[in-house]
Symmetry: C2
Subunit: 356 residues, 2 copies
């Protein structure tokens, strides 16, 4: 498929940061990257692992003008027995193709994507940190590189994978955050690109995020654009609520990203016999549950944080404090289970890990 992956090792070496120290998120990059090109007629070709370094494009390359770009985010973990594993990479490869389909970007063989990630991680395995909760963040992305200003799907693309050693999102255990319920800006709408990991979705969300920070909130909770009533996502995470013993999360409406952590959590909850429902959830439902004391927990889910407890929701100028602003039992258990599986502490009962 696409030919053998050519490997050009980085013989100059690359200074590795101290993996036991503060790594931040997406700041340091490993010694190598994967790259493969697409040309209409030829298809994907010349897969290669090369030294990490700048990429050069014509200033008319379509990615700079029309945002034709999609990406994925996933992690490699170093287990307690010093093996390196990936968490459900097949799911990322599938979603990459779903995103590409929406953005008129050519598909890539999913098994090849996983194999390319495996080989790249193997080469830079020394960059997978050991520290509790840390990991190697993997960023596959596709960009339109054709140099033409006509608005149409490009005929040339690059598929690139870069990797970054990152800290645990919460270094001192889960920290509940304040969230602003956003009533003006919209993230997406039916018929839009909200269910794709499309570059432009993120640019459009920055302004609301900045306003949230001005309200001392870490992120926004997006409402649907049509009725400004139904919950969609929290920042760039999916959102869950535990109300009166039942866990609910917004159903995939077409404008919500189908998170892989979201899917894993639904799977775990079902396995544990905890009722979990995907449905439309209005902000009024949440206000009511908060008022009558049945809103037990709220949290976001995503690759970066795994889970992120919500301590309060700021809605119409009034904060609704959830679970006294503390991390709930369920979110703790979900975090312990997923990170436990990822670190090899718990058995991989669901076959979610792939050895590198």
């Amino acid at each position: 498929m696409y030919g053998n992956i050519r490997v050009e090792l980085n013989h100059n070496g690359k200074t590795m940061p101290n993996l036991e120290e503060n790594l931040g998120f997406g700041k340091h990059f490993t010694a190598h990257m994967f790259m493969m090109d697409y040309e209409e007629g030829t298809g994907w070709h010349d897969p290669r692992i090369i030294p990490y370094g700048p990429i050069s494009h014509d200033p008319a390359a379509m990615v700079f003008h029309y945002g034709q770009a999609v990406f994925e985010g996933m992690k490699a973990f170093r287990t307690e027995s010093d093996e390196v594993v990936l968490f459900r990479p097949d799911q990322n490869a599938k979603r990459l193709n779903r995103s590409s389909e929406r953005l008129s970007i050519p598909q890539i063989d999913e098994e090849f994507v996983v194999a390319a990630i495996q080989q790249l991680v193997r080469i830079d395995a020394a960059w997978v940190p050991k520290k509790k909760g840390s990991s190697l963040y993997i960023r596959p992305f596709v960009i339109a590189t054709e140099a033409i200003l006509g608005v149409r799907p490009a005929m040339q693309y690059s598929f690139i994978i870069i990797m970054s050693p990152v800290d645990a999102y919460y270094e001192e255990g889960l920290q509940p955050v304040n969230i602003l319920v956003e009533s003006y800006f919209s993230r997406s709408v039916r018929g839009g690109t909200g269910d794709a990991k499309a570059a432009g979705n993120y640019a459009g969300s920055l302004k609301a995020q900045t306003l949230a920070k001005e309200h001392n909130c870490a992120q926004v909770l997006w409402l649907d654009a049509i009725e400004k009533k139904y919950l969609e996502e929290v920042g760039s995470m999916n959102v869950f609520f535990k109300i009166n013993g039942e866990v609910v999360t917004p159903s995939l409406s077409g404008s919500i990203l189908e998170g892989i952590t979201r899917g894993s959590i639904i799977h775990l909850l079902k396995d544990w016999g905890i009722p979990v429902t995907e449905r439309k959830i209005s902000i009024d439902d949440i206000v009511e549950a908060h008022a009558n004391g049945s809103l037990e927990e709220a949290f976001g889910t995503g690759t970066a944080a795994v889970v992120s407890p919500i301590g309060s929701l700021l809605w119409n100028g009034t904060p609704m404090v959830i679970n006294q602003g503390k991390t709930g039992e369920l979110v703790e258990k979900l975090y312990a289970t997923i990170t436990g599986i990822q670190s090899g502490k718990l058995p991989d009962t669901y076959g979610w890990l792939l050895k590198v």
Copy 2:
């Protein structure tokens, strides 16, 4: 402002295509480009005109991942008296800042933007074609260049201007096109980025455009995402209808781009004493006007085509033929007037031209 523009001439020269031959759109680029960088704390700095050529970025540059990018489109014309003029460049500079504001990109002094364009066009003035209807298309754009994967506004940007000699959009006079009324996909929504010239808007529109072509249509007519009922734009142009002697165009709802050609046409119509109204227009209004014979003309407006007559609208599988599929009188007059002003054939009564 930002220091003097440093000029590094392209001494290697660049092969110019035959400007009398088929140029296409956005395929050939001139010998030079303008570039200026932004760094948080320092601000915009190092404005320079340099030889046109590839730009190099870290693969983690935010434009590749989060689509934080805006652009403009405008033209320079060679008048009949061999002067080179720009059409309302101040309007483009203003809109660039409006787009940037929505995308959390730093503002650029508008007079400086116009001056930079003027100087660049002056240097590459030989690239402004003479052929009737042809022009030099100018593409200013801003991209986020900071290399970090955290989702937040970037702290580093480049502002770049590239230029491309282009043909008249319609080389043999105006040609009415078929348009598909799009009922599934959405271009934007209130609270989104539809009123900004944001890169991601265009990527999101490609799929609908491809489907339109499969229906033998040149473009789609976008309906609002909320009620799937009100007209928004046609492709990446604004849309106008002449119904029973009155000209109507969708009001700026927040999800529609405020076109500079749109504004110029409203200005002309008012000056000519032709009633023109900006209002919500439903597809039902159009169906009704078509049925009762009062729908006289329909056309798109934008920098690339100036005006583009709509010969038929395909709605629910049925084509509504407009003005017997022929170019209407009003659209002809608007085209002749605007291109007449641009080419210096008609006096610049409104002060729309700026000499380079």
